[in-house]
């Protein structure tokens, strides 16, 4: 079987976020970059599918040239091919992103490469639009299940489990299909040193997509006001027993 995984380069969110002076973009000059956690799990799941069923795996991203780092990380984990849809560094909205990915997948099909499973993370760590996977599915007229936490493939069908507000749903979906993966489906492996070295030498297939307008205009980004806050430390040098009693008196929890 053939599996395609879509990923996104996102700022490492533990860092302090600052905005550009015009309030239109996140100032990324001092930020580190990574792949969203859900997508790390999608990459791992794709590698496992191929290990189990044979076939080929491809990773796809839309982003600046620097996103090659994230493609190589995926290849270091065992993905074979990588494709970069190169942008000028602007943040593409989900409509434009999905349209560009659909075009790339159709070009693959024209070149004789079809995919049984197209996988994404459930949402990205930065804008969390939850849409790219669903939009790609609709454009390609494929069924789609989002937020999956378990995946089993047999006889051209996938059985997937996903969490809902009240429990779990188990669904059957005929392949080809789009599946979006949620963190927790697996524990991603660490890349091996030979894996990293191999990934470094691999070719990245590059193309430059055209932006297709989805009709949204961003007015501005705004940092919320940071409220000054002080913690009250209970009897720092005291006896922990006394601290605990004091805590309960404060809270009148019981």
């Amino acid at each position: 079987m053939n599996v395609l995984v879509g990923i996104k380069r996102v700022p490492a969110t533990a860092g302090q976020i600052t905005l550009t002076p015009d309030g239109q973009e996140i100032d990324t000059r001092y930020l580190g970059f990574t792949v969203s956690p859900h997508e790390e799990c999608a990459v791992e799941e794709a590698v496992r599918l191929i290990e189990k069923h044979g076939g080929s795996s491809t990773v796809l991203t839309l982003g600046p040239e620097a996103a090659i780092d994230q493609l190589r990380e995926a290849m270091a984990l065992g993905i074979e091919r990588a494709m970069l849809l190169e942008t000028d560094g602007r943040e593409w909205d989900p409509v434009a992103t999905a349209a560009a990915m659909v075009e790339a997948i159709e070009a693959e099909r024209a070149a004789g490469r079809t995919y049984d499973v197209v996988m994404f993370g459930n949402e990205s760590a930065d804008s969390a639009g939850y849409q790219v996977g669903v939009r790609v599915a609709d454009a390609l007229d494929l069924p789609c299940v989002t937020g999956i936490k378990a995946l089993e493939v047999t006889n051209g069908h996938a059985t997937v489990r996903r969490q809902t507000e009240s429990g779990w749903e188990v669904a059957d979906v005929p392949l080809p299909a789009v599946l979006t993966v949620k963190e927790g489906i697996n524990l991603p492996r660490y890349p091996s040193l030979p894996g990293r070295l191999k990934a470094k030498k691999k070719e990245i297939e590059r193309s430059t997509p055209q932006w297709q307008d989805g009709g949204l205009e961003k007015i501005r980004l705004k940092l919320p006001v940071q409220v000054g806050h002080t913690v009250e430390i209970l009897g720092k040098d005291g006896d922990p027993g006394v601290q605990v009693v004091e805590l309960f008196q404060r809270l009148r929890l019981l």
Binding site: T13, A14, I17, P94, V95, A125, D126, S127, A128, G129, Y130, Q131, V134, R135, A137, D138, A139, D141, P143, C144, T146, R162, T164, E165, S166, G167, W168, E169, V170, D172, V173, P174, E183, G184, L187, G214, G215, L216, E217, K218, I219, R220, L221, K222, L223, P224, V231, E232, I233, L234, K236, P240, Q243, V244, L247, F248, R250, L251, L253, L254
Partner: protein, 323 residues
């Protein structure tokens, strides 16, 4: 008056809580129509009216329950073409997201996900979306053709019944639902077996991090939680380490919680964790490192060794309960 639609998800005829929040918001923006789909959906009509729906579309075909997203998208697309509403609100639930995203692709209209508010602006709408776990707020104005689709986060709006409430006009649909063969079908649904309160609903949460030192030390937290009637949570670090399953994870890629009391035990307080719990009314931190970022957020702190303090805490609770 602007036509505001609400996708009214129901479970066995009861609207999901977020639906009542959406209706409360919707009626402040215009004339509200609710769309309720699936078996027993008609049972929800009265409640939908009480929260402000003037009109309700109902279709009770089981396909809306058994096939993911696509039947609802097909029907909504048809109704929207016919009635041309200005705005359609969805709850940010699993099904709400799937339906809204596919509908937006189908209608080629704008969708804004993860919104916390919608307001009138210059005769149109401005939609507020928190990103980076709420550290940046984005305001978006849709320019595409109507309707604008908006996914609103649960608990972003407080649900309040309309006064005076009126019985809505009801239109029951019975047209054939074609699901096709290439669809994702639900085989079964399982209710989660929960011991103690669910994290999302708990009034008190006891949450542990790396500072506990070893997975077996989580047992202290289970004991404390049982005494307090609290739910147990965990930071991503310990979930990654395999100490607790993902369902315990609180934070950016886990659950968002708003308890009255959040007790963070051995949690350093990385941003990825705090975005999931900073809405707690009172935050108590127990950590041996006085410089840990969690103390910048906490209301009450104890600097000390969790292995000494937590057992004393359990003992104290027990003695107060007269055990």
């Amino acid at each position: 008056m602007a036509g505001i639609w609400v996708f009214a998800e129901t479970v066995d005829g009861t609207p999901k809580p977020v639906v009542l929040e959406l209706l409360t918001k919707a009626r402040s923006l215009g004339e509200v129509t609710a769309v309720a789909l699936g078996p027993s959906a008609s049972k929800a009509i009265q409640t939908l009216g009480e929260y402000g729906a003037k009109k309700v579309y109902v279709h009770e075909d089981p396909a809306f329950r058994d096939v993911l997203a696509t039947p609802a998208v097909d029907l909504l697309a048809r109704l929207i073409e016919k009635d041309q509403p200005d705005l359609v609100l969805f709850g940010m639930t699993y099904d709400g997201r799937d339906v809204a995203s596919r509908l937006s692709a189908r209608l080629w209209t704008a969708l804004i996900a993860n919104a916390s508010d919608v307001v009138n602006k210059d005769g149109g709408w401005a939609i507020v979306t928190p990103v980076f776990g709420g550290t940046v707020l984005v305001t978006t104005v849709p320019l595409a053709k109507a309707p604008t689709l908006v996914l609103i986060r649960p608990k972003a709006v407080a649900a309040e019944p309309a006064s005076p409430a009126s019985a809505p006009q009801v239109e029951t649909l019975t047209d054939q639902v074609d699901t096709g063969t290439r669809a994702a079908r639900v085989l079964r649904r399982e209710k989660e077996k929960a011991s103690g309160p669910k994290l999302e609903d708990a009034a008190i949460i006891v949450s542990g991090g790396r500072g506990l030192g070893a997975p077996e030390n989580f047992k202290m937290l289970d004991e404390l939680a049982a005494e307090l009637g609290a739910a147990v949570g965990a930071s991503r670090a310990v979930v990654d380490a395999g100490w607790k399953p993902y369902s315990f994870q609180i934070g950016q890629t886990g659950k968002t919680v708003k308890p009255s009391v959040y007790i963070a035990i051995g949690i350093s307080g990385a941003m990825q964790h705090t975005v999931g719990m900073k809405g707690a009314k009172t935050i108590i931190a127990i950590n041996k490192d006085p410089e840990a970022p969690i103390f910048k957020l906490a209301d009450l702190g104890i600097v000390g060794d969790v292995h000494t303090i937590v057992p004393q805490l359990i003992q104290e609770v027990r003695s107060r309960k007269g055990k």
